[in-house]
Symmetry: D2
């Protein structure tokens, strides 16, 4: 199924970009937890569109309405369902895309998967908008994780080839990015990234990037060998975010070029706690948490919807036909995807505990 994730805390996401509403059911949350709705709203606003001139002009309140699972602000043990109304939709922008698919977009595959009955408006249920309920679920899970001392934070590691610093994988400093409107460690690199995004926008083009995420405070021993390791489960959650095309843990692809003697992390005991001196393993050994920070990086392709005229084909006439996307789109989805990656990590970790 497309919309379900997890066994312990099961996430079910529904909706399309232009359906009446989108939402999520979260089943398996412990009862008795007072949810901090302000924190949830704050988290979701990091993903919300229309906040600045480098994101889509679509405006959405993105206000989740909790319709079950919570009584007087406290979880009651029943499945929590939250619904987010879709407001500012311009469905006419999309009708021509049904038969002339946008390059690199889901239109083409969705057309054949659903025999032409797919909801083409705004990308239907393939839309980046589906990450709004993902973020809601992530924000809720995070509040449970924080009670156990588990923190999750991400930042933009790269946009259009401009790199930020990386987290120190042994001592992750979330404070260096927390609360920033454009979450990078080195703000001067962030400014350069913004310039690249604006250039792309002016050029009716788009750019991609890389997000780095860290999870701290994890106990040793989460995850299972083989198919339910930490890497497997986080990957399954993260690839739910549209535009993600790669993921690496710890030293990742760089580590593949290192020698064992370089890449191996020596063990120590510091203040009675077993640690590693370095963290090339990204906090995961044999699929299991080592107690060190879990570190992963996610590659996001450039937004497929661009204003430039592009070559495509008419699915009915089978003739070549140019396509020019008139909808409102982000020239770079990476900044808004940062909380999405955190949310994906949160629902993954929630299911590993």
């Amino acid at each position: 199924m497309s919309c379900n994730f997890g066994e312990k805390v099961k996430i079910t996401i529904f909706g399309q970009s232009h359906s009446e509403a989108i939402g999520v059911v979260i089943d398996g949350l412990p009862a008795g937890k007072k949810l901090d709705m302000d924190k949830i709203s704050e988290f979701m606003s990091r993903r919300a569109p229309g906040r600045n001139n480098i994101s889509t002009s679509r405006k959405e309140a993105d206000k989740p309405e909790i319709i079950s699972g919570v009584v007087d602000g406290v979880t009651c043990g029943a499945p929590l369902c939250a619904v987010i109304k879709n407001g500012d939709t311009r469905s006419k922008d999309y009708e021509n895309l049904r038969t002339v698919p946008r390059p690199a977009h889901s239109d083409f595959a969705a057309f054949f998967k659903h025999n032409g009955f797919n909801d083409i408006r705004g990308g239907g249920n393939f839309s980046g908008r589906m990450t709004a309920p993902l973020c809601f679920a992530g924000a809720v899970c995070m509040q449970f994780l924080q009670d156990d001392g588990i923190e999750i934070g991400a930042h933009i590691e790269k946009i259009a080839g401009v790199s930020d610093k990386r987290f120190d994988p042994v001592n992750v400093d979330f404070a260096s990015v927390k609360g920033k409107a454009f979450p990078v460690i080195d703000d001067s690199r962030g400014e350069e990234m913004c310039r690249k995004i604006e250039e792309a926008k002016l050029d009716a083009d788009s750019v991609g990037g890389v997000i780095e995420c860290a999870v701290t405070g994890l106990p040793v021993g989460l995850g299972e060998p083989m198919f339910d390791g930490v890497e497997n489960v986080i990957s399954q959650a993260v690839f739910a975010i549209p535009a993600v095309k790669g993921i690496e843990f710890g030293s990742g692809f760089d580590g593949a070029e290192m020698k064992g003697s370089e890449n191996n992390d020596a063990f120590s005991c510091v203040d009675g706690k077993f640690v590693t001196d370095t963290n090339n393993h990204g906090g995961i050994l044999g699929g299991i948490t080592s107690g060190m920070p879990v570190i992963f990086r996610v590659a996001m392709k450039p937004t497929p919807s661009i204003g430039k005229v592009q070559k495509s084909v008419n699915l009915i006439t089978r003739e070549d036909e140019d396509v020019c996307v008139h909808g409102r789109h982000d020239p770079c989805v990476v900044p808004r995807a940062v909380p999405c990656v955190e949310a994906a990590a949160a629902i993954a970790i929630m299911n590993l505990r």
Copy 2:
């Protein structure tokens, strides 16, 4: 659970490196298919150890014995169980590792996960040996896939920083690597890789690398949006292979540095079939197959077990203690992991159909 994969064709893997046997149950295979056991053996021999001087000297017949699900060589619709006896085990090599974990190895996490009751011999069920039943399952699934015109092939893309050519992602040429003992497209680069592996071996060290895999012949429309997309499902399967630390689809991390106008793949209609002129999307749009070859690359860390003396810690005394691994290990697992990646792709695709 650690050992289960898939809903349509369910794979259950069991065993430890030094248990009496390892094996796999495959449930959901259609009845009436005559299995080609020679092909299965041939496939598994690509993974088997002890075939040359750059792999472990552990010798294993790796002969799968089918104990259910097949009557007179033909699948009968009942779960297929195959068992592989463990023969050449030297369990004494490992006893000292229980309390002084090998850096970058699963020992440490397994110890805490299982309160010290984990099977330390040969890495227990975290061992690379568990990929033998994975390969058996993959080889079986591949025979069903081939009936539908689906082919899977992988090659070594990089070892120790030495790069092979990549597959042409639009017209994948499996013939360029098929049947090679050391599967690279450019054999001269392969020889250089082998030299690097031998150097590492002589130096009691190890090296990592990257494997590229392609799947051709897929129909349009496999996979589901969000959590059960092709990327999600292949990742879940591939991260089951020990030492895998990263995966990317299509242009992947490189694509994250490209502009939309560069990364987007234009559509055409050629001979009545819809195709893309380039394949940066790696055959996957919105999580769904596009009908183009699925292309992905897998980063493998250098073998953690190396002969060099390494700094570790005694988990009981909490004192620093050096560890020196005496077991038999591959200085580079990448060559033997090539069929494992193909097998992981096969079980993933089998579950997407």
Copy 3:
């Protein structure tokens, strides 16, 4: 998890009796099917309360609002979410039940399961009201099943010891009960049942009963041996209906008293179709459909909420305390449970195909 059912067509139910709304997500429906909303409403109205003097006086429009998965009345392949607002709630009726649980009701177990944070109002997510979204899901699934010639129908087989005729299990005659406000084959027995219900109501008591359900038009070969047989899957769905305490297939408990030579159903070939002359096996052999009608009967206990003073205990003071239920309750849930049983059968069969 509590609220999920199925792998092929996944049903996720959410809500509590007095939460803002209740609803369901249905994932995996084929795209391109025009839903007949009138038929769905008609089906749901059979379950709705407040229609006569033998059911609860709570009035609910029970009008499902589809908020995703359908475009212009046609399924689009995205998860279908329907929400039903909760209107006529009187939450004050329930507060005293939190600490003095109603005998035979879920209050007691829910209190301990959720550490006292359970939603006590109207029974929370244990309420019979949760069968409204179940009926919606069932009504939707039924429209897909009918396209394949599969019909589902149920009737009241027994109430308060008064028995209706049973379906002829070989030639099920749905017409004998279809469209009846009080679905029995023999209306005179139905009148007697109604009298028993009214007697119980006047006496501040309640009665239980048995529902018989049939599914016709099934192909041979649905279901899997052992854990996913037709009996297993239907049972898992049917026990989701509150008050169900037993289920039997075919000759069931009566068959347990028969000899093999009596209970075995002889095979024939009639008009080119393989059939059995009798149907003691209830259309299921070895967990697999035989092509004959699937027949099962469901035992429902008398409504636990009764007006009589009952002995209970205060969970805080641990002292004996009488409980007297003031809420609005059905003296017999059996008539309203008839469509619920049909709905459970529909979602089960939908997942077996």
Copy 4:
């Protein structure tokens, strides 16, 4: 899938009646538990055939060989796989049944499900023999449950219409049946049952019956509302046993004839523990354990394989053809099914904790 059960402790059963072996993989068992193999053997011997003149003459050692998951007799956290060799097989007895199916047997449905490729020998994977690995899994789970004070026991409640006493559902007395070769509470009724079985045997016929099972020592709060309630999960497990056609919990079908005031169980607090004075609810309220003994009864049809000549049809010629079963079969499977029901309960409860 046919062969998988459970999420927390996953059971995967494989094999056919006449395949080389049958077996089971149990994944998710806690590490560090010393298994009592004698107890397991003793439990399995209660199911084993050939022990007396009222069961099949097929002789099977039924000795499980543990090939993974256990080191020096102690669970190590890896999936436990046990294999049981099939010895005394007479496959020739069955070949004629492929095209002329036995009435009430799985042959017919299996033939069409698997296009005639089903393993017909001994019933293939539909055979009652598949309960041997189920019993092994149940015996293993029971040892974990007993550590937490949970006990499971069943007895023959009825055979051929002859009834045993029932357990006192409030104070279950396992001692009254434990260790008996023919487990009934009232041995005189047991003798009468045996006579009925022998009569049926002499008459080339078979008889069915009812098994009652109790689970004591359960905490309050296990299970989930709706689809994963205790009734749902136990049913899913119990219907895996061939010949089971019905199940009821607590007062079950009898309760359906009672009034609420009769069927409701009053709460009390005895010695600081909340209990009910009666146990018509069978220890389950709203799908959740109440802390009272879980009580259920299982209806088993008479063995379909009987020596009498029976009317059937040839699946190829479509002509009527008599069938006479020559294999070795139990005239009554109820006695041997008693441990199977206990085992099913054990794997169900193990997954509810």
